[in-house]
């Protein structure tokens, strides 16, 4: 068996993908609607995914948590898939990176403030 014909990989349906990634079925359909995740279709029209779709969705979740929009993720997906980037994409990557770093700093500051209050209210019931 050749590399191209290598894996007649077992395709999975949307429910299994959703459970695997820990998201709802609705969410997976939404990702497709946003152009994040294109699925094959069975003859009857059901979505069929490869195993790695689960990891991809986990990655989406991570980026969502970091504040990227689905639009932004679609624009940056080629950077992962192909490793190839143009100047605009590299600029976007850095912009997002800086934004996230700033957010981390903000959160850390808020955390410090909460910790102060907690310390006070614990010694000062």
């Amino acid at each position: 068996m050749t590399a191209t014909a290598a894996a007649a990989e077992r395709l999975i349906r949307i429910g299994e993908v959703a459970r695997g990634a820990g998201v709802s079925v609705r969410a997976v359909r939404y990702y497709e609607q946003q152009g994040l995740l294109i699925a094959e279709r069975s003859p009857s029209g059901q979505r069929l995914y490869r195993q790695d779709a689960i990891a991809l969705i986990r990655f989406f979740q991570q980026m969502f948590a970091a504040g990227l929009t689905s639009r932004r993720i679609t624009e940056l997906l080629p950077c992962w898939d192909s490793g190839h980037t143009d100047a605009e994409q590299r600029a976007m990557l850095r912009a997002e990176r800086d934004r996230i770093q700033a957010k981390v700093d903000d959160l850390q500051a808020a955390l410090d403030r909460l910790d102060e209050v907690i310390a006070v209210t614990d010694t000062h019931p």
Copy 2:
């Protein structure tokens, strides 16, 4: 002059507060609507604030950025004002703290992932 009669503090109107805190006038009214910030009123009905309202709004912004809702902030405001807390409030404080800490960790992980990609795409144009 006594402590109680001390400062016939200069009261400021909503526009000055908003500019000072770097938010919109609409936002300040919204905070009042949510019970975060109660203003005095002039005879004609205009809102009048003390200087420290600006710092308070900055604090709200910081908590918003940390993911607290206005409802949660109102529930926790007594912890700041009076320094007095009950068990429920202390539990909420810790819950929010833990949530923020988890978020920081998530963001840091996302940041690391972005940095990987940036490193690759920079050496690999």
